[in-house]
């Protein structure tokens, strides 16, 4: 979501005069955003510094070992597979939902977005239960004489899990772009003799290119940084490798060097996205009122389309949750108690609330600064605050561990270090959401408030803040959700004995007590799913009214 807004801004030079206030930003805002930016960039800088310090001349020889090459190859292949598949799934379903006349759009949209709340490690446990050679699916298929399914561990299972995990993000981004697409362009194409399918391939897809690029980048980055799903499905990527080395704790320098490689890897994808973005201007060209396009009539094909979307939802949402319920019930029958979960639930909620509160608090000045003012620090602050977007959670966590041990020991093993890592990781998402709402506020409103005699602080409190409240709230919800789902940083940084939902589930899952994970997983999905469903429904309703 964020990246698209981001592109939109950069390309929209035409609007810059309106968007930017040419006044100088207040000094307190400059200092504040600068501090935040420096804090965000600290883990990456420290990692860089450490790796060079430790490795020195050995850096090249470590990188060139055979093992690293193998890991590199595995990582690349799964990134490629996941990006392509989730891109196809997402673009297809977004187009069907937004541009055709199929029924049950609201329910289907919800079903397509909600897999977002299921963490990869929970998905992985259900995938193993369902599709392993002797899993539930095989039991069902044995009626037809199938007595063994192909191996699920490794690439196939990991790809399956990560596609389910990433396609909702791509779907959201592409759907947003489709909504902003000027329907007149499509009508023009139809009037020039292109059929609806030709229009889709020659007009819609090229116009969606920036959104698709941003979505694919997101899918690639999530795949790169995923730990839980990959580890459970025994697919040894960079991230898994780093964690294994760190756990073994024989050598502290190797994980940090690999982390550095991982960061370069992520940067590489961000650059690719930047260049595929293209130079065209993709915003609506007319200033007239937005016209609602007539949905494409699909006739008898309608039910086939609904069925395909339903199958996607079945695989990505319904069966995993079904398995979790099955485990929950089986667990309860076997005498498992849900009471021990109370503490992890409270811990998770506490940490997630703190993380959303502080992340939004730090995102707010940055978002206002980079959208409202034109300042020479803009580029640096934008880069610094977005860096967490490309940093895998494990990298931030490792860097913070080393940093706190060496420099700020009181912070080591404290919950605040964990919160700090969440801020660095999730500030880009909340900046994106706040920034979008700041962009919607006409700067003339602020001018008007100044001319009515109000001081800058009064203007922010009484005009800007109330108007961007929706963006702040959704930014907070996103961070809340991401925090609940986060695994690697939570595993590394949470103080000893401080169990959250995700670490509890992880603990049971790694010891293959899958039945025990049912209750905790369902509670996690419920806590994360309710605000998400609320947000989705709210935005759909708004769209219908419009």
């Amino acid at each position: 979501m964020n990246l698209v807004k981001f592109n939109f801004m950069n390309q929209n030079n035409f609007n810059k005069n309106i968007l930017y206030n040419k006044n100088k930003p207040p000094i307190f805002l400059i200092i504040l955003t600068l501090i935040i930016a420096l804090l965000c960039i600290t883990p990456a800088l420290y990692l860089l510094f450490r790796s060079f310090e430790i490795a020195g001349g050995n850096l090249v020889s470590i990188i060139l070992t055979k093992n690293v090459f193998l890991v590199f190859f595995r990582t690349i292949s799964i990134i490629f597979l996941v990006s392509v598949v989730s891109c196809i799934v997402a673009v297809f379903s977004a187009w069907v939902i937004e541009k055709t006349d199929i029924p049950f759009k609201k329910v289907l949209t919800l079903g397509l977005i909600l897999p977002l709340v299921i963490p990869s490690f929970i998905l992985a446990t259900t995938v193993v239960e369902l599709y392993s050679p002797r899993g539930q699916l095989q039991k069902f298929l044995s009626i037809f004489g199938v007595d063994r399914l192909p191996e699920i561990y490794g690439l196939p299972g990991a790809t399956f899990v990560l596609v389910i995990m990433t396609y909702p993000y791509v779907f959201l981004i592409v759907r947003g772009a489709l909504r902003r697409l000027d329907p007149q362009l499509l009508e023009a194409s139809r009037s020039l003799g292109y059929g609806s399918y030709k229009t889709f391939f020659f007009i819609t897809i090229p116009l969606l290119r920036p959104a698709i690029a941003a979505g694919t980048l997101l899918a690639a980055l999530y795949t790169l940084s995923d730990y839980g799903g990959m580890a459970l499905l025994r697919y040894n990527t960079f991230t898994v490798n780093i964690m294994t080395l760190y756990d073994a704790s024989i050598n502290r320098s190797l994980p940090s060097i690999l982390s550095l490689l991982l960061v370069f890897f992520a940067l590489f994808f961000i650059f690719i996205e930047y260049f595929t973005r293209g130079k065209g201007v993709f915003h609506r060209s007319t200033s007239g009122s937005e016209k609602i396009a007539k949905p494409l009539e699909t006739g008898a094909l309608k039910w086939a389309l609904v069925l395909i979307l339903f199958l996607i939802i079945l695989l990505s949402l319904i069966t995993p949750i079904g398995v979790l319920f099955y485990w929950l019930i089986r667990g309860l029958i076997n005498g498992n108690d849900l009471l021990p979960l109370l503490n992890p639930v409270l811990n998770s909620l506490y940490v997630a609330f703190l993380a959303s509160f502080f992340t939004v608090l730090t995102a707010l000045p940055v978002a206002i600064f980079i959208t409202r003012y034109k300042h020479k620090l803009n580029n640096f602050i934008e880069f610094a605050s977005y860096i967490g977007f490309g940093l895998p959670g494990i990298v931030v966590a490792l860097s913070l561990v080393f940093l706190s041990i060496n420099l700020f020991f009181p912070l080591y093993q404290s919950i605040w270090l964990l919160i700090f890592s969440y801020i660095v990781l999730f500030i880009p998402a909340s900046i994106g959401s706040i920034r979008a709402s700041v962009l919607q506020v006409n700067p003339r409103l602020e001018d008007a408030a100044y001319s009515l005699g109000k001081t800058p602080i009064m203007v922010i409190l009484r005009v800007t803040l109330p108007l961007i409240m929706p963006g702040i709230l959704s930014g907070g919800i996103i961070v809340f959700l991401l925090t609940l789902k986060e695994l690697p940083a939570t595993l590394i940084l949470s103080p000893i004995g401080y169990d959250t939902l995700s670490t509890t589930i992880w603990g049971a899952a790694t010891e293959a007590f899958f039945t025990r994970t049912g209750g905790a997983s369902l509670i996690l999905i419920l806590i994360a799913g309710i605000p998400m469903a609320f947000m989705t429904l709210k935005s759909t309703r708004y769209n219908i009214q419009k």
Partner: protein, 376 residues
Amino acid sequence: MKLILNKIKNFSKVKERKLKSEMSSNETGVIHLDSVTHFYSNDNFPTIENLNLLVKHGEFISILGESGAGKTTTLRMIAGFEKISSGYLRIGGQLVGSNFLHAPPNHRNLGVVFQDYALFPHMTVYKNIEFGMDSKIVDKTDKINNILSMVGMHGYENKYVHELSGGQQQRVAIARAVATNPIALLLDEPFSNLDRILARELRKDIKKIVTNTETTTILVTHDREEALAISDRVAVVSNRKLLQIDTPEYIYNNPLTPDVASLVGPCDFIEGEYKNNSVETSFGKFRAKSTEKIEDHQNVKVLIRPSDVHLINEGSENFSNRVISREYRGEYDEYEILSEKGEIIHSRMNNYENIAVDSKVQIILNKNRSVIVYKN
């Protein structure tokens, strides 16, 4: 650090002498721009250059110009949204802007009405108007009700902005600006988002309000009819410069340059030879006057307004000018007339003077008016 401290110091000083409308005097005017120039930081050309403008108390001034001429920048400079690069800006005799000083907009006590209204969408009409008012005022509700009935919006105080039409929103925006007792009212193309009839109605109402309350007003517009109809004086701005400032009538009849002439009304320019207060052109000989000193037998540029041109086609065969097109415009017909030399002028005449295309015509000026001539 010293710089910051200084800034804070200046800040509080400006605040102490918060501007009052009584402070204006005749010499300084309410608003005085003294050779003001404005650059955007990354541009080589100024947005407005060497602007001198003295607005007196209770005066209604329009700044007329095409888009990009620098008129909105001028207004934003006065309001304090833009810093001036050089020159001096005084409000009520008080220096508020120069290259070393910039009083922020919230200390200038000016009422600004924006093109897109800029009403706060999260507040009711009442709250919008209350927003800028002094919190110590006792009979606030009465005041707001008074202002609302003045702008013809009584009974709308609990509505939200999106429940109002464009014209109503603009009325509320005016009410909000007037409610703070501003030194002057600045209107930035306030009618351009409204349709013609609504705009005319609102224009008349605004004129009434500012005349009754003796509010000094500056209006920025690209609509010459609007500027001529409403203002005490019109300032014509073109290509980053102020070309002429005068009463609407004078400026229409005596434009200083061809640019001014074409900005304040439709016109044609033809070649001519000046001699003894008259000018010889391919359309005939007319009485001429000029704002410059012109010697006899000099070639000049002649300004002819279509509404002054009257066509006669009786006894036509000897005339050398030919009608090449006729357009029905409702209130009048517009003719295009071609001279032997190939020059074209236009004429606007009542439609009962039915002259066919291709007929030969003689040209006389209505009421024997003089044409304006400019040095080539």
